[in-house]
């Protein structure tokens, strides 16, 4: 991409053309590096863990539990 940036200024002459060529190249490189930095990183593979039973750790009776906690606090 950076190499292509020079093409745009080929038809312009003089000092400004040289300036454009250099600056275009720098901008192209800068944009490329910013794009690379902004690109979403590949998510790491999830860690393998010991399989757990489906209801392990689940509180099955929320309503009752909340009532009991309120009662305890009283």
């Amino acid at each position: 991409m950076a190499e292509n940036a020079k093409k745009g200024s080929e038809d312009e002459g003089g000092e400004f053309a040289d300036f454009m060529a250099d600056i275009s190249q720098e901008i192209a490189q800068r944009v490329e590096s910013l794009d690379a930095a902004a690109a979403p990183k590949v998510a790491p593979e999830p860690k393998k863990t010991t399989p757990m039973p489906r209801d392990a750790g689940l509180i099955l009776e929320w309503e009752n539990l909340a009532d009991r906690m309120i009662e305890d606090m009283r």
Binding site: M1, A5, G8, E12, G13, G14, E15, F16, D18, F19, M20, D22, I23, S24, E26, I27, A28, R30, V31, E32, L34, A37, A38
Partner: protein, 201 residues
């Protein structure tokens, strides 16, 4: 701050030419303007007095076209060098991305150069910029004057360039060093381009 705006696909950078009165700031911009191809020539805004002293500031929008998919613009400003335009200088420095300090190489102008440099640092600090880190390039102008009237580059650099930033010998009236200076400051500014949250805008 110079920013790559992914939302509007724009890069805009503001560069200010600073220095004492009659050091050649406006002449730098006039030379750049004279070299622009017709299709890129916008309007250079220049407010001067009858004696060609910059009254308010000069403004030269430099539309570089679309580069890597981004509409790229450099906005070049000068400040009025005379001491009594302090408020204008502060105003022009707002949102600056890089500074070109145009020093007058004449020996008798050395105190004015020093005063202007101190004024630059004070104003940058007032505007919330760190004078030690903002992109800065020195141009020692008027190298075309007789050798007896001007300080050597080494003398000027030792006296003015305590940050050790890039410096260029200039003869803005004939265009000498003008684009080298611009290229250098542009490069420094571009190296600090950042992509803010506007990416998702």
């Amino acid at each position: 701050m110079s920013v790559v705006n992914y939302g509007t696909r724009e890069i805009t950078c503001k560069i200010v030419y600073y220095g004492p009165g009659r050091s050649g700031k406006t002449t730098n911009l006039q030379h750049i303007y004279s070299q622009l191809p017709e299709e890129r020539k916008g309007k250079m805004v220049s407010l001067a007095t009858d004696t060609d002293r910059t009254l308010f500031f000069d403004f030269l929008p430099l539309d570089l076209g679309t580069i890597s998919g981004f509409a790229t613009r450099f906005q070049l400003y000068t400040v009025p060098g005379q001491v009594y335009y302090a408020a204008t200088r502060k105003l022009v420095l707002q949102g600056v991305d890089g500074v070109v300090f145009v020093a007058d190489s004449q020996k008798r102008q050395l105190p004015e150069n020093i005063e202007s440099l101190q004024d630059l640092h004070a104003n940058l600090a007032d505007e919330g910029f760190d004078p030690r880190t903002i992109p800065l390039v020195m141009q020692y102008n008027k190298r075309d004057l007789p050798a007896g009237e001007i300080s050597s580059i080494e003398e000027l650099d030792e006296t003015l360039n305590f940050r050790g930033v890039p410096y260029f010998a200039g003869s803005a009236i004939s265009g000498g060093g003008v684009f080298e200076t611009l290229r250098s400051i542009a490069s420094m500014v571009l190296s600090r381009l950042s992509a803010p949250a506007a990416k998702d805008a």
